[in-house]
Amino acid sequence: MASFDVMPNVQLYQPAELDDALELADRLGEQGWLLGGGQDTYGWLKDRAKNPQAMIDLNGIEALKGIRETADGIEIGAATTLRDIIRNPLLKERYRLLVDAASRVASPQIRNVGTLGGNLVQDTRCWYYRRGLSCYRAGGNLCYADSPEGMNREHALFGASRCVAVSPSDTATAMVALDATMVINSVDGERTVPASKFFAGPATHITRMTSLEPGEILAAVRLPSKWAGKRFYFEKVADRNVWDFALVSIAVAMDVSDNVIGECRFVCGGVAAVPYRLNKVEQAARGQSLGDATGDKLAPLAAQGARPLNYNHFKMPLMENLVRRAMRG
């Protein structure tokens, strides 16, 4: 694949109002590229692996920015930067899980401009797909990663259906763990989708990572008060401590009373095309005490049902150990 130092010829729209952006998104459809912080845009375009006609820059739309308190929790605009999320006192106090997840995204420089929406809807990092090969995800008819010679160290353990790519988003796991609601706008109006249904696996949507349809814009994320101030744990394991994607990450939200776990969410990143909920771990954790003993009991359940590929078996003990670490009192 050829490399280019320059951007391709692409039209740039910079709407100031959400309605204008929605009209543009509707008119341009799949030929319009929604631009947040742009951290996952320029590589695609410079490599000519994606060739949209136009970019719709959402950064000038104030309605898509900010962190607001609502009757039932907090609403975060999709164009809010990760830096603003990390620094927000309300989020620090009530939803530390999201703050921790956001603070592990990439690098400080990227977090300064990268947006929550962009981080949530970013495309997968599968190197075959990124290189511009015509795999299933790119509309082709095979998967290069899941082949006898495929290099798939960073690919999926769960939920693969032809494509074995994983979701690279750190904040996505937190959103699922916090039972967030995604607010999606289009020219037809507004719809809301639970975070657990927002991310899409290849069995249903093999060419995209979310349930966003062409013409739709993720406008905001709502965090319910249900999980405000609960016990959280986030950990990300990557090859480097900065500016790298998760090999496996875990986001945990627990309602703990007298050291006994009530309702809880255990969500892993880097192991499936969507944030992967550890349902068996959650069921087994309820009614248990926080501590190493419980961690040892829950850990073997974490990777049950995994279907490892050639080079990603290591993710299974990694998941187990992340569950153990989350359960430390």
């Binding site: 090969l133 015509s134 082709g140 008819n141 095979l142 998967c143 290069y144 899941d146 082949s147 006898p148 495929g150 693969a160 259906s161 032809r162 069995a203 249903t204 949507h205 279907r307």
Partner: protein
């Protein structure tokens, strides 16, 4: 309009990707136009006497053959729906349903082949020179099956065997409860499998559309009934068939 789509393989060579699904709309429009023109033509023509369904009942299809027909029909409809809807943008988790229906189709087709070879009159489905006179001479009546029915059977046979053969190849390329996918086929070979699978599917859409249309035409409804209940009346046989070429039992 292209018949096929192409891509570059991992080495940068251009290889076949599959059929061009733009053809689906052409197939649907052409099928619809044919049906519309035929319906108008039949409506304009003088209607022949409708034979009575009363009187002795003659067996046309055994229960096992009727069951085969409807299981095959159901599996083909499931295959077409699960195969085509995601392509036209209606996305759902289709793959497992698709290959399960494919297995059902394969099993019933194998069963039908064995049964037709050893327990049925294979010649009743052969197209003979005499059959070719049927469309042009009202006095020439068919045996058990008319030329149109034999052509339909031949078309469905060829297309179904094509989708099954290519489907088995593609089935090996996905994970199933019994094996992990092999990815052993070259991209060019895979492209040909997808192309034949897709093209056969498109032609099946046309064939099945016509089959359903002719199945529900008023003068053909007794055939539909015979595929449901197994029998035709003596009057229906005499009006549409040559008793010297097909004389069924009065055992229905």
């Amino acid at each position: 309009m292209d018949i096929a789509t192409f891509k570059n393989d991992v080495w940068g060579r251009e290889v076949l990707l599959g059929v061009s699904w733009d053809l689906l709309w052409v197939i649907l429009i052409v099928s619809f136009l044919f049906i519309a023109v035929h319906a108008v033509y039949k409506a304009a023509r003088k209607k022949p006497r409708k034979p009575s369904s009363d009187g002795p009942r003659l067996k046309r299809h055994d229960g096992i053959d009727r069951l085969f027909h409807w299981v095959m029909a159901a599996s083909i409809f499931v295959l077409l729906i699960t195969g085509i809807l995601p392509i036209i943008g209606i996305e759902f988790s289709w793959l497992t349903i698709h290959w399960v229906a494919g297995i059902v189709l394969t099993v019933v087709v194998v069963f039908h082949i064995v049964r037709s070879l050893f327990w049925q009159d294979l010649k009743s489905m052969w197209i003979s020179p005499r059959d070719l006179k049927e469309p042009f001479d009202d006095t020439v009546k068919p045996g058990k099956y008319s030329l149109a029915q034999k052509c339909m059977h031949l078309g469905v046979t060829v297309l179904t065997l094509a989708v099954i053969a290519t489907g088995i190849g593609l089935f090996a390329m996905i994970d199933t409860p019994w094996w992990n996918r092999t990815n052993s086929l070259s991209e060019a070979t895979l492209g040909w499998l997808f192309f034949i699978h897709g093209l056969s599917t498109l032609l099946l859409v046309a064939t099945i559309s016509l089959h359903v249309y002719f199945g529900v035409r008023p003068e053909k409804l007794f055939y539909l009934r015979s595929m449901l209940k197994g029998w035709v009346s003596r009057d229906e046989l005499d009006a549409n068939h040559d008793a010297s070429r097909w004389s069924p039992d009065e055992s229905a």
